[in-house]
């Protein structure tokens, strides 16, 4: 699929749903930008994609000077840059939007002030968030290539982290250094969590806590390359790892590999999570395969869409070629605390492609 195909899929959805107009907003706070997914433009201010039956797709961006970048990124779209987004929509539909034939996506996630004004223009409309996500699910060839590049940036970032992490360094200082390093490599954003403790309960956004001997550093690196995320999850010991920790980490990696090996088109996503749980349960950790210890074994990747959703037993989404997601057991074990390992993958015609070159290993830094 390419961006043209994705737009065609959105128009087909409108046809199926009996809709003439669809207004689509980003969901910035939850990192799902459907406008970007559809058009290739990721906004600075509020933006809205408007699809109208029989007309060129329209992208409304704010502030007005964002039109320059929007025109470059959203090839094939008409771009308008008004001062006031709600007024621009109102002027498009002087007699109101077509009653009963209008749909919206994510309008409730827009900032309250703007959504309120838009609401008075649009009135009642069908909500098509889930349907549009499904229709636009396959990654484009360009996004897959970008995911490979993002994975390569993450791996280089991790190699760099092993060189610069030192006892006494604040988590945040290390995290910021790594973020900037990955930006220099081409990343434009990063869902980057990093935390350390001798016994972690979770991976968290980094804090001012200073690294100590015996810490286990959890690193969830998720750089974005041209808007496409890829994630690797890694664990580093400050000082030499104990035999127990090495043994437990090997178990978590083995569980992850079992999950990855399961991946092929036609199976439900839930099977991947079950394969991971099976390995861990066989070693006596069945009770740690459920909340509050673990909620999911991975997730979709993208600023545009989280499809195909969580790697969780209950996810019945059938895997298709070119779906991209991360598999991460990220397991809490009572003996060692939370351990991270995770790799980004693509579903191929017959199986799976791991997008990272090296599989997670228990790394260590000297004291």
């Amino acid at each position: 699929m390419d961006h043209g195909g994705r737009l065609a899929a959105a128009l087909q959805l409108m046809e199926r749903e009996g809709v003439d107009v669809m207004l689509i907003a980003p969901n910035e706070l939850n990192r799902v930008d459907t406008v970007f997914h559809l058009s290739g433009y990721r906004g600075v201010g509020e933006s809205l994609a408007i699809l109208r039956k029989g007309e060129k797709p329209l992208l409304i961006v704010t502030p007005e000077w964002e039109t320059e970048r929007a025109e470059v990124r959203a090839a094939g779209w008409e771009v308008r840059g008004p001062d006031n987004l709600a007024q621009a929509v109102a002027s498009l539909f002087p007699n109101g939007v077509p009653a009963g034939k209008t749909a919206t996506v994510n309008l409730g996630r827009l900032p309250a002030g703007i959504a309120k004004k838009l609401g008075s223009v649009i009135g009642e409309a069908k909500k098509l968030e889930k349907q549009l996500e499904i229709a636009l699910m396959p990654k484009t060839a360009e996004e897959i290539e970008n995911a490979r590049e993002a994975a390569a940036i993450a791996e280089k970032g991790f190699e760099r982290m092993l060189q610069v992490a030192k006892v006494g360094m604040a988590e945040c200082d290390l995290a910021v250094q790594m973020k900037i390093y990955m930006e220099a490599l081409g990343a434009d954003d990063n869902f980057w969590l990093m935390t350390a403790s001798p016994h972690n309960r979770a991976v968290q956004p980094s804090s001012g806590r200073k690294l100590e001997v015996g810490d286990i550093i959890l690193a969830e690196m998720t750089p974005t390359y041209k808007g496409q995320l890829a994630q690797i999850c890694r664990t580093i010991v400050v000082g030499p790892p104990s035999n127990l920790l090495s043994e437990k980490y090997a178990l978590v990696v083995r569980a992850m590999e079992a999950g990855i090996k399961t991946i092929k088109p036609g199976i439900p996503m839930g099977d991947v999570a079950k394969a991971i749980d099976k390995v861990l349960s066989a070693e006596g950790y069945a009770e740690y395969c459920n909340p509050p210890h673990i909620r999911r074994r991975g997730h979709g990747l993208g600023h545009g869409s989280n499809a195909p959703g969580d790697v969780a037993p209950a996810n019945e989404t059938i895997l298709q070629e070119d779906m991209v997601f991360v598999v991460h057991p990220n397991q809490y074990l009572p003996e060692t605390g939370y351990l991270l390992c995770g790799e980004p993958v693509r579903v191929t015609a017959t199986g799976v492609e791991q997008l990272s070159k090296k599989t997670a290993w228990l790394a260590s830094i000297p004291t």
Partner: protein
């Protein structure tokens, strides 16, 4: 200025008593409670990673992911619910002096339960931001049932605009960092691409103690600063940039235009900023600033990104103003960014700015693109 929003706030947002003493927060909470209508039983304060000014004002808490709420009772007790699992509250607690930090699972239910248990009878005040998603408030209202939710943001936002000595000190420090960042950007302009210069400037900001930095640059020669969303990007001359840094919650922002050639539009914009700085003092109206700028722009249009000639800067990059059209006149003790910009064509623009504190007989310049 609108800036790109990162997926997660990576820098150090931990509360530091050295930078923001507990007494500062006690005084702020007293002021907040003093402004609340006597009939209100308590206050809900909302913030997210995009705009956390109100939340940070009372608690120092800036959500590094998604959002958070603070629940304030009339006797000053504060509780925070933050995004993340219970296990993630370890680092969340480091972001605030507030001891009671809990995971945020179901915002309407947290608020309804708290209103029943901790708040008294009566309506609940709501201090929120335009960056709150529209679908949240109706859900909170539904959760509260018969009890009313009263938006008190307009009244309480006045507190964000007033700057205490501590807030002014941090604003000054932010401006000091901004100066270093701008110099780094200018230094690298001659040899590196705009993107590389921006990355280098971000590194300088981090080393200088910024907890956050946002940089926008021209996409094309002389273009208005925008998001750096692609890895490529050549050397642009002129290059326009917008830089913002945050220090212990307080932002400083600056527009700069860098050019290796004589550039009439830039010369005019420089003259406009100079004229605005000369005219500015406590009580100066924005229309007077506009007149001062226009008098030296030689007929050039004011750049759209500088149409708001003065914006309040503090815990947010553009503070909410009492007037719907933004700052009407400069007030003593506040921190403003004064912006000057001229435009001739899509590729012939200049943007400059200065951070100032108005006084009775002029302004205290905290940072200026003219330096």
């Amino acid at each position: 200025m609108r800036v790109t929003q990162p997926a997660v706030l990576v820098g150090n947002y931990d509360w530091s008593e050295d930078l923001l003493p507990r007494a500062e927060y006690e005084a702020r909470i007293k002021q907040v409670l003093g402004k609340l209508d006597a009939g209100l039983a308590g206050l809900v304060i909302y913030g997210n990673k995009i705009d956390n000014a109100a939340l940070a004002y009372v608690s120092n808490f800036a959500p590094k992911i998604e959002s958070a709420i603070a629940l304030l009772t009339k006797d000053g007790k504060l509780r925070i619910h933050a995004a993340g699992s219970p296990q993630m509250m370890v680092n969340a607690k480091r972001l605030t002096w507030v001891e009671d930090v809990r995971p945020q699972r179901d915002v309407p239910k947290h608020i309804a339960d708290w209103a029943e248990e901790a708040a008294g009878q009566g309506a609940i005040g709501f201090w929120t931001t335009e960056a709150m998603p529209a679908d949240l408030q109706p859900r909170i209202e539904a959760g509260l049932g018969a009890r009313k939710l009263v938006d008190v943001s307009a009244a309480l936002n006045a507190l964000l605009r007033e700057k205490s000595p501590v807030a002014l000190k941090l604003s000054r420090e932010a401006c000091g960092i901004l100066g270093k960042v701008v110099e780094a950007m200018k230094d690298r302009f001659h040899g590196e691409s705009g993107r590389e210069a921006a990355v280098a400037a971000e590194r300088v900001a981090a080393d200088a103690g910024a907890q956050d930095v946002r940089i926008l640059i021209s996409l094309s020669k002389g273009g208005t600063p925008t998001a750096i969303d692609y890895p490529e990007g050549g050397k642009l001359d002129p290059l326009l940039a917008y830089l913002a840094v945050r220090r212990a919650g307080y932002w400083a922002e600056g527009f700069v235009t860098v050019s290796s050639m004589n550039h009439d539009t830039l010369t005019r914009a420089q003259a406009a900023l100079k004229a605005m700085l000369a005219a500015a003092k406590a009580g100066t109206t924005v229309s007077a600033l506009r007149d001062a700028a226009r008098s030296v722009l030689g007929g050039l249009a004011i750049h759209p990104a500088a149409r708001q000639l003065a914006v309040g800067v503090g815990l947010m990059l553009e503070e909410s103003e009492a007037e719907p059209d933004g700052v009407a006149k400069l007030e003593a003790g506040r921190v403003y960014s004064l912006r000057a910009g001229a435009t001739k064509s899509a590729s012939d623009n200049a943007l400059l700015s200065a951070m100032v504190v108005p006084k009775a007989h002029g302004v205290d310049v905290l940072w200026s693109a003219l330096d």
